[in-house]
């Protein structure tokens, strides 16, 4: 377990909180310690019962291809079960349980078999505990309850170790998706004070937010007064995209810049009119070139041939 390279899946503090939450007290720990020697007595019987069940099912049988492996695992299992009644449930116990959980997750044992095994274990242990405390039934019940509490805490830990790698992957995928999204919105300066950005595809809430943020940041960065937004790459317009676009245009205006919409295709123009979207306050031009020309004009600039007469 590489605890030196990454934060533990469950910290000691969190473990103490979990114990407190389910009401696993020092009294419970004491009871379990008392159960310890008794557990030594029924441990073999319980392990046999559990593995008899494993061997009956094809999926779990596959993990024990030969007798040597089976015996080795049974011995480890017995040790694992006896640890439930050794009486000390602090940092060392936590580390051990997390490690075992990780190992099982890595070898690919499906969670349902792991959980199932715990369930079978509890069923097998119940009569053993009752029998051991037949002179004090009430205490036997408390001891069994303490044991089930601990088993449930163990299963919580196992589930956490199983989920951990997936959670890490999901958050990494989210980061990658965000990075990809940023790259897909290139805002470039085409002239001093003029930026241009192609809008590709439709806008959903997340893309619209990102698009507007990127555009505004770049306007501030480039000190632009004109933003050419090219919508040639927008296949079709819906109310949502149009709305987000209008919001983006308003936001740009608040920064003292103007938006020139370029590349509006006839089909889009048609849709906008049918949707009754009011773009009358927005300057539009058919091409990026025409848009740039207007933008330069807005900046009191003009492109003239080199040999133009004064």
């Amino acid at each position: 377990m590489d605890t030196h390279t990454q934060a533990p899946v469950v910290t000691v503090r969190e473990w103490e909180q979990r114990k407190e939450f389910v009401g696993f007290t020092d009294e419970d720990a004491r009871l379990l310690r008392e159960l310890g020697p008794i557990a030594e007595g029924y441990a073999d019987e319980v392990v046999e019962g559990l593995y008899k069940q494993f061997l009956q099912f094809e999926e779990t049988r596959a993990f024990f291809p030969d007798t040597a492996t089976l015996n080795r695992v049974k011995a480890l299992q017995k040790k694992y079960f006896l640890e439930l009644t050794q009486g000390d449930y602090g940092a060392a116990y936590l580390a051990n349980r997390l490690h075992v959980g990780q190992v099982h997750q890595q070898i690919g044992l499906s969670l349902r078999w792991y959980m199932g095994a715990y369930s079978i274990y509890v069923d097998l242990v119940y009569p053993c505990v009752l029998a051991a405390f037949k002179h004090d039934i009430e205490k036997g019940q408390r001891a069994f309850l303490a044991l089930s509490k601990l088993v449930r805490l163990d299963t919580e830990l196992v589930i956490t170790t199983y989920i951990a790698p997936s959670a890490a992957i999901i958050s990494m995928q989210a980061r990658q998706a965000r990075a990809l999204l940023e790259i897909s919105i290139p805002v470039v300066q085409v002239w001093a004070g003029v930026v241009a950005v192609p809008l590709i595809g439709m806008l959903d809430s997340q893309r619209a937010q990102l698009f507007t943020e990127r555009l505004l940041e770049r306007i501030v960065e480039m000190r632009a007064s004109v933003a050419l937004v090219d919508i040639t790459g927008v296949p079709m317009m819906d109310t949502q995209t149009a709305q987000y676009l209008l919001e983006a245009i308003s936001a740009v205006r608040l920064l003292g810049a103007q938006v020139i919409l370029t590349g509006m295709r006839p089909t889009i123009a048609q849709t906008l009119v049918h949707l009754d979207i009011d773009l009358s306050s927005v300057a539009t031009r058919p091409s990026l070139e025409a848009g740039l020309r207007l933008g330069l004009d807005m900046l009191d600039l003009q492109v003239v041939p080199r040999d133009a007469k004064p």
């Binding site: 943020e213 306007i219 501030v220 007064s225 936001a251 205006r253 608040l254 920064l255 003292g256």
Partner: protein, 125 residues
Amino acid sequence: MADENIAVMKVQDVLMVTLPADPDDATVSSLQEKVLQVMEQSEVQGVILDISAVETLDSFFARTVAETAQMVALMGGRTVIAGMRPSVAITTTQLGLILGGAMTALDVDRALGMLSNTPQRGYGR
């Protein structure tokens, strides 16, 4: 007391008003008072509201600014809101807040440029 948060500076015939990062309602109200007070005393053709430090803009602020711009216009001046942060701009549009007849500029520098130009195009350099 509240208007100590707002820095007001008159540069020739332009009034420069700088707002703090998180102006409370009292500060925002005093903005309007301050502007009108100065405009009463001297000739002001333009008011620049520098909000480059402002991180949040609520509807009260927006309404006050819009009203102030209207008042300034009635007194023969123009208002420019300068330096709005991208995050504030996004929130303002999402909330549908309107800033009235005030013009907007990237920063104070641009705002000054806008006010010194004759209002033909309205786009500062």
